[in-house]
């Protein structure tokens, strides 16, 4: 009887440990599948090009990825937040990897307002960078989506 109790206890402890390890932040589950599904539902008349699964530790550097934009096309970018994020994930587009000129962002610093989608009407063909960072360097996760208007 006592052995059985130990087994149950061990199972609970180990299960919790595995669950903790599988979520690197030790907080919200960051697989991104739910956010991805949510994002697809918000695309409307836009077609998905690429998605980015973002998972950031506290104080982490922004994550960046090269993207290509074509003149004459209208793009939509979505930062989809994990519901357990304490602060919002910010999505921004910059001219180069050193940031340089900012072309678009989901966070308006002047008003402190976050936007669930940003649209960018491109007049330039070339390579740019999409950046993801958590507001105030908080830990958190989410999914970024890059789509083009049909």
């Amino acid at each position: 009887m006592k052995t059985k109790s130990y087994f149950i206890l061990a199972f609970i402890v180990l299960g919790g440990l595995v669950s903790f390890i599988s979520t690197p932040l030790g907080g919200p589950k960051c697989l991104g599948d739910d956010e991805y599904t949510l994002g697809l539902g918000s695309l409307g008349d836009y077609s998905l090009i690429k998605d980015y699964r973002i998972n950031m530790k506290s104080g982490a550097e922004p994550q960046s990825f090269m993207i290509s934009l074509k003149s004459g096309l209208k793009y939509r970018f979505l930062p989809i937040q994990n519901p357990e994020n304490k602060k919002k994930m910010v999505l921004s587009i910059y001219m180069n990897q050193n940031k340089g000129m900012m072309l678009a962002t989901s966070f308006n610093k002047a008003t402190g307002k976050h936007y669930p989608t940003i649209d960018f009407a491109s007049r330039t063909t070339g390579s740019f960078y999409i950046f993801f960072e958590m507001e105030d360097g908080e830990k958190g996760c989410g999914v970024g989506m890059f789509s083009v208007a049909n």
Binding site: F65, A121, G126
Partner: protein, 297 residues
């Protein structure tokens, strides 16, 4: 008693670890079956390259937005698929058929998508990457015109997952060739259309391929110790040299920002000037068509 608990915990650990990593192990084993290539392309280079190429959807949209009608004669023939012999040939062909799928989907021509999916299926089986495609579902979608949006989405997701997997598993050379095939097919369609309709819009679409050609040439040269890549670099070199004569100047300007119905909209205010010496554009078009037909048809 404590020994029993210890044994129990170890057993539970094995069961849990086994559950979480069984997929990874089988994938590893499968990848080990594939012979190692001599090609050494750094992950960073591949990531940069792949992410800097437009998707087939974008390429097809600019063709459609320019008012061009769908032309099935432009598509890569799906018959005699066995003309693609090596895995490298197959990867490049798979990319090209993926490019054609983008063109077919954007124009909503689902009735011809099934034969392209069949070609992609055969190639992906040979390359051992068929698990990323739910072909039955995709062919079912292709048979119904109302499902074209879903087919487009599932095609994009499948290709994205496959590329990510290849890169993560160190099969960069296949990844490069798939991207190269997609780009070449898209450039071919643009060039073919521009050949008969040399509007300013289509001329710009041809010349804006300059950056892509430069990047693909650089990565092929960097891996020219592999004969296949060396041969590709030689074949694309004349096109790269033609593009060297095209001057593209972009004046970047701060975009205009406005809020529309609660959404943030940015309007690009940049300007691009393209200067192409007389006769060069036609040579680029001819060379692109020649290259695609030589490598894929």
């Amino acid at each position: 008693m404590s020994k029993t608990v210890m044994v129990g915990m170890i057993l539970i650990s094995f069961v849990l670890c086994g559950c979480s990593s069984s997929d990874g192990n089988s994938l590893e084993e499968e990848m080990n079956k594939v012979s190692k290539s001599k090609v050494k392309v750094s992950k960073e280079e591949i990531d940069q390259l792949i992410q800097s190429f437009s998707s087939p959807i974008e390429t097809s949209m600019i063709i459609q937005n320019a008012g061009n009608k769908f032309n099935s004669e432009l598509l890569l023939p799906t018959k005699k698929i066995d003309r693609f012999v090596s895995n490298y040939d197959k990867a490049m062909a798979m990319g090209a058929y993926g490019g054609d799928m983008g063109y077919i989907n954007i124009y909503g021509k689902s009735f011809i998508a099934a034969e392209f999916l069949a070609a992609i299926r055969l190639l992906s089986i040979d390359l051992e990457i068929d698990r990323f495609f739910d072909f039955e579902d995709m062919i079912r979608m292709a048979k119904s015109a109302s499902n074209i949006d879903s087919l487009q989405q599932i095609s994009t997701e499948s290709f994205n997952s496959m590329e990510k997997y290849l890169r993560e598993k160190g099969r960069n050379e296949l990844s490069v060739l798939i991207v190269f095939g997609t780009w070449l097919e898209g450039s071919y369609i643009i060039s073919y259309i521009a050949n008969s309709n040399l509007s300013e819009e289509m001329s710009n679409r041809v010349t804006e391929q300059k950056e892509s050609v430069k990047k693909i040439y650089e990565i092929l040269v960097a891996n020219s110790e592999d004969n296949y890549f060396s041969n590709l670099a030689k074949q694309i070199k004349p096109l790269k040299e033609l593009y060297m004569q095209v001057k593209i100047e972009t004046i970047m300007r701060e975009p205009e920002m406005k809020e529309v119905d609660g959404q943030l909209v940015f309007i690009d205010k940049s300007e691009t000037k393209i200067i192409t010496p007389d006769g060069i554009l036609q040579k680029i078009i001819d060379e692109t068509i020649r290259l695609r037909n030589n490598l894929l048809k």
